[in-house]
């Protein structure tokens, strides 16, 4: 293998024109001549597009014919192109971790389009730094770890039941853990599911039966996860069940612990009798409404979109519209007013339900949060923001639409799994747009209202989606991870203080008791090489193996020395 460290270091530098993206703004010939003068550089070539097939073949040819044992490509960004260049080096027999990139496009030619001279000088610095670092790179092997083909789903509501069934239907064993005595979650207290007006109970029963009958599903009710150890593919989970603690090996985990409706103590005279929550109304509707009710006032945004709780809980408007319509269906002469700020009836089905309710005679009254409605024994007084006058509405029933708030278990679950929650206690996904069902920690996924309030359609979609995401490592059977990770390069220096463990966003560090005392241990598979630990460690015990102090110093020296 050409990467033997004792061998002479032979660096090949490939400078990409990127069509005119780079060549249009920098002096390419000057860069080429400059690169030839750098230490350890034995081969320099310019390419119209280094990432094209021709360019890639030139790299491979260089490695073979020029005996290159380091390759530096000066081009675009490693974000998009490092995997391609690395694998090309590997195909030519060079260890892919001996490859380095200098970003002379995104960070140079694109931002210095009108400064050819200064831009070219900067590109030289970037290439010089890349070359200096390349000389110190070490070969590495990718890390591989097996994945236990079993999923754990925490929470047996709509999201959890859907995710469990989906994974089981793909042939994987699934363990479903529910804290309550029966599955169903919030479905158990709901009446009808909008907008199809399906019975919540029937839907829950159907799902529960499918789960109970499924040979791949193990259900624990009245149970709770008490301990989670390990990392993607190799979790050891303790489940406290009625029959004692069960220890189970798990490959992936889906969090589906739901949310709960806010109980509006102290707001609008809430008493649970005449003034109830929207969620309590569901129960009343399920059991059959008091026929004597003639005047209903529903107040939106009770405890949400406020200073204390700034978020909009997404589903309360549609729930209010659904229930208002159901009341009108049941008691056609009942007067129903919905006092709202904005009617959040997004999408096709919701807006349709909204129109339908108006056709059925539900009244909508816009209020300004600066002049909120007042509930008294006689009724509700509201300043109609669009008519500009006060109105007195008689009310035998006042319904408060309160938001879904994070479950009591959210915090505990977050600590158990080392995954974050946001300022409202909802679980924080890896990326708001690109990875809405993943956590930053590999192997753990999120769905349903534990992430943010969601209606039934959205919750089912997310349950399926989370199962899909979770099935990827299960179907591969193993995970191969990037070898650029944190290493305990100086074990003696480590004092086991645990600062790095507390800061690691991926749960990739643990403190072990060793012969030499408390020492940090890096879980290779879980580490993402972000460098937070290495930057934090005041003992310089940890380092990122492709961004060692030595390598970064060499880059800086090259920069300052030039």
């Amino acid at each position: 293998m050409p990467e033997n460290n004792d061998q002479e270091i032979r660096i090949g530098v490939f400078i990409c024109h990127c069509g005119s993206n780079i060549a249009g703004y920098l002096e390419m010939e000057e860069l080429e001549e400059f690169a030839k003068t750098l230490p350890n550089v034995t081969f320099v070539q310019r390419n119209l597009y280094t990432c094209s097939e021709t360019g890639i073949n030139e790299i491979k040819k260089g490695i073979k014919e020029q005996n290159l044992n380091r390759v530096v490509v000066a081009s675009c960004t490693p974000r998009t192109h490092e995997p391609l260049f690395r694998s090309s080096c590997a195909e030519a027999g060079m260890n892919p971790y001996l490859f380095e990139m200098a970003n002379i496009r995104d960070q140079c030619s694109w931002v210095h389009m009108h400064e050819k001279e200064a831009g070219t000088a900067k590109a030289k610095d970037l290439i010089r730094m890349g070359v200096a670092k390349a000389a110190l790179l070490e070969p590495k092997e990718p890390i591989m770890s097996e994945v236990c083909p079993r999923g754990l789903v925490i929470g047996g509501g709509v999201a959890g039941m859907t995710a469990t069934l989906a994974l089981a239907n793909r042939g994987y064993e699934v363990v479903l853990v529910e804290r309550e005595e029966k599955l169903g979650g919030m479905l158990n207290s709901l009446n009808k599911l909008g907008p199809g007006m399906n019975s919540a109970e029937a839907f829950a029963q159907e799902k529960i039966k499918a789960l109970t009958d499924h040979p791949k599903v193990t259900i624990f009710t009245n149970a709770k996860v008490t301990e989670v150890d390990g990392f993607i593919g190799k979790y050891k989970v303790d489940i406290q069940t009625e029959a004692g603690i069960k220890k189970i090996d798990i490959g992936v985990i889906i969090v589906a612990i739901g949310a709960k409706p806010l109980v509006p103590n102290g707001l609008y005279g809430y008493d649970g009798q005449r003034v109830i929550t929207q969620h309590e109304l569901e129960g009343h509707l399920k059991e059959g409404l008091d026929r004597e009710i003639k005047n209903v006032v529903i107040i939106q945004c009770v405890g949400s979109r406020s200073e204390e709780r700034p978020y909009c809980s997404r589903i309360c408007c549609q729930t209010a519209v659904k229930n208002a319509t159901l009341i009108r269906d049941e008691i056609p002469d009942a007067k129903i007013s919905i006092l709202y700020r904005d009617m959040q009836m997004y999408g096709v089905e919701n807006e349709e339900m909204f129109r339908d309710s108006k056709a059925k005679g539900v009244r909508y009254i816009n209020y300004d949060p600066a002049t909120p409605p007042e509930v008294s024994p006689e009724g509700v007084k509201v300043h109609h923001a669009l008519l500009g006058r006060d109105m007195d509405l008689p009310a035998d029933l006042v319904v408060l639409s309160t938001p879904l708030v994070a479950n009591g278990q959210a915090h505990e679950t977050s600590q158990l799994l080392r995954v974050p929650v946001d300022e409202n206690g909802f679980f924080l996904e890896a990326h708001v747009k690109l990875r809405p069902l993943d956590f930053a920690t590999d192997g753990v996924f999120i769905c349903g209202s534990a992430h943010f309030p969601a209606n039934i359609r959205e919750t089912i979609a997310q349950g399926l989606g989370a199962a899909s995401r979770a099935s990827i490592p299960l179907s591969k059977g193993s995970v191969v991870v990037e070898a650029v990770i944190s290493v305990l390069s100086n074990e003696d220096a480590c004092r086991g203080c645990g600062l790095c463990v507390a800061l690691c966003p991926y749960g990739a560090l643990e403190i072990h008791q060793t012969e030499k005392g408390r020492k940090v241990h890096v879980i290779d598979v879980a580490c993402k090489g972000c460098g937070v630990c290495a930057a934090t460690c005041y003992q310089h015990a940890l380092t990122i193996n492709s961004f060692t102090d030595q390598q970064i110093t060499a880059e800086l020296d090259a920069y300052l020395g030039g």
């Binding site: 793909r170 978020y311 009617m343 959040q344 009836m345 096709v348």
Partner: protein
């Protein structure tokens, strides 16, 4: 995109259309037409040299008509795959004219004017429809005078104006100003050409055109050559004068700083789409915030019936836009847009909170257009045999959110109904999961059959 392009298990067929589907869940046979690009995919390196030399300039649909491209082009920069495509409607060579410049330029020898459409037969277990949506055409609303008033644009056009890689490099230049600048450019080209012609006469006769023309008007010359010279000079003056005027005018051009966003353009409107398009409120807020980031003096007024900020962190984002990015939210539906001075659109609306009809002048108006069902979806639905709803979104049921009416065929994204990015991404995973279930069950059946 890059992930899709690089994934070993993904066979990516772009510029292709499904023509026929037979069979059932677990065993579909799909016939796909891979349209001729006139560029060999395995040879093209995506270098773009062909687009640089191509002489044919075409309005760029990706830039929403605000920019241009060539007849050989990528759909957009960094698109996947990077293979260029020749537009057969505009290419001179393909329309029987003499050209072929791209073929001469291409070092990879990738241009093939004789390429034909290919028909591919695929065996698949399941099918996912992710055909997206179309943007509602606001010229259907006469009172908003889209296209009649140049500084009324759609939200997606405004997106291009805000984009650093867009036609204005991220400056909110007004379309009326851009039109004048384009005219200046065209006239300058003409002026340059006629100046060249004049230079030839000047050299020939050893006299400058102005002096000559004075003498010519004095009746000094009467021959054919001098008459032609005089004609050319007159033509040149006819270009120069308006050109100078325009240039003077263009000096005063500034990016738009007073913006209006109009919500529910085509949606929540019984004449067009009664449904709510879901994402437009947040899209307008985002555009207003970005415009303010580009130019901190920018203020925006968002006119809407309800501002539907319903996702995670959305309400907070909306409030931040109001506090920090110069956004004012006005509750009301805009009745009409008229043309004011200096190409400024004037918005006429009722402020429903103040119960007053008002008119306000803006430098630019952005229409938050509805999410319209994709035009091609009817054809796709027919080929697949799936049902559409009354608006032509793919029909599903709330309890099976990604299942179409045919087993084994699934849907995700705005083809199902309007939704934002996080929802589309989550739903894509759901559809993938349902599709994989079918494939898995098929495998189990096969194993059973073998056993």
């Amino acid at each position: 995109m890059l992930d899709v392009g690089r994934h070993p298990n993904i066979d990516l067929l772009t510029y292709s259309e499904v023509e026929k589907v037979e069979g059932k869940a677990g065993a579909f046979k799909a016939t796909v037409r891979k349209k001729a690009r006139y560029v060999e995919e395995d040879k093209c390196t995506g270098c773009g040299a062909c687009s640089e030399t191509c002489p044919t300039i075409v309005p760029d649909a990706y830039e929403e008509g605000l920019g241009t491209r060539k007849a050989i082009y990528p759909l957009f920069a960094q698109g996947i795959p990077s293979t260029r495509t020749i537009d057969p409607d505009y290419c001179r060579q393909l329309n029987g004219k003499k050209c072929g410049i791209c073929a001469k330029t291409c070092q990879a020898d990738a241009i093939n004017f004789d390429q034909k459409d290919q028909i591919l037969d695929l065996d698949v277990a399941s099918i996912i429809v992710a055909a997206g949506y179309d943007v509602f055409d606001p010229s259907r609303i006469p009172e908003y005078r889209f296209q009649e008033i140049p500084n009324v644009v759609t939200a997606i056009q405004f997106e291009r104006l805000l984009s650093a890689s867009g036609p204005t490099g991220g400056h909110v230049d007004r379309p009326s100003d851009l039109a004048v600048e384009a005219e200046i450019e065209a006239l300058e080209k003409k002026a340059k050409k006629s100046a060249k012609t004049l230079a030839r006469y000047e050299e020939k006769h050893g006299e400058n055109s102005k002096t000559f023309y004075g003498k010519f008007q004095g009746g000094k010359y009467d021959d054919e050559d001098h008459r032609k010279w005089a004609e050319k000079y007159e033509a040149h003056l006819a270009i120069e004068k308006p050109l100078e005027d325009m240039k003077k005018k263009a000096e005063a051009f500034r990016p738009a700083k007073k913006l209006a966003f109009i919500q529910c353009v085509g949606s929540r409107d019984f004449r067009f789409y009664p449904f709510c398009s879901g994402y437009c409120c947040m899209h307008s807020i985002k555009e207003a915030i970005i415009a303010n980031e580009h130019e901190p003096e920018t203020t925006s007024t968002i006119f809407g019936m309800d501002i539907r900020a319903v996702g995670k962190g959305f309400e907070e984002y909306k409030i931040r836009g109001g506090n920090k990015s110069g956004i004012t939210y006005v509750r009301g539906r805009v009745a009409e847009i008229t043309k004011g001075p200096n190409n400024n659109p004037v918005v006429i609306y009722e402020d429903t909170r103040e119960r007053k009809v008002k008119a306000e002048e803006f430098e630019m108006v952005i229409l938050a257009t509805a999410c319209a069902p994709s035009k091609g979806i009817v054809g796709i639905a027919q080929i697949l045999g799936i049902d559409l709803d009354e608006y032509q979104f793919v029909k599903t049921s709330p309890l099976s959110p990604v299942d179409t009416t045919i087993p084994g065929i699934f849907v995700c994204g705005c083809a199902e109904s309007p939704m934002d990015v996080p929802e589309s991404v989550a739903q894509a995973s759901s559809a993938a999961e349902r599709a994989a279930e079918i494939a898995f069950q098929e495998d189990v059946e096969k194993e059973k059959a073998v056993a």
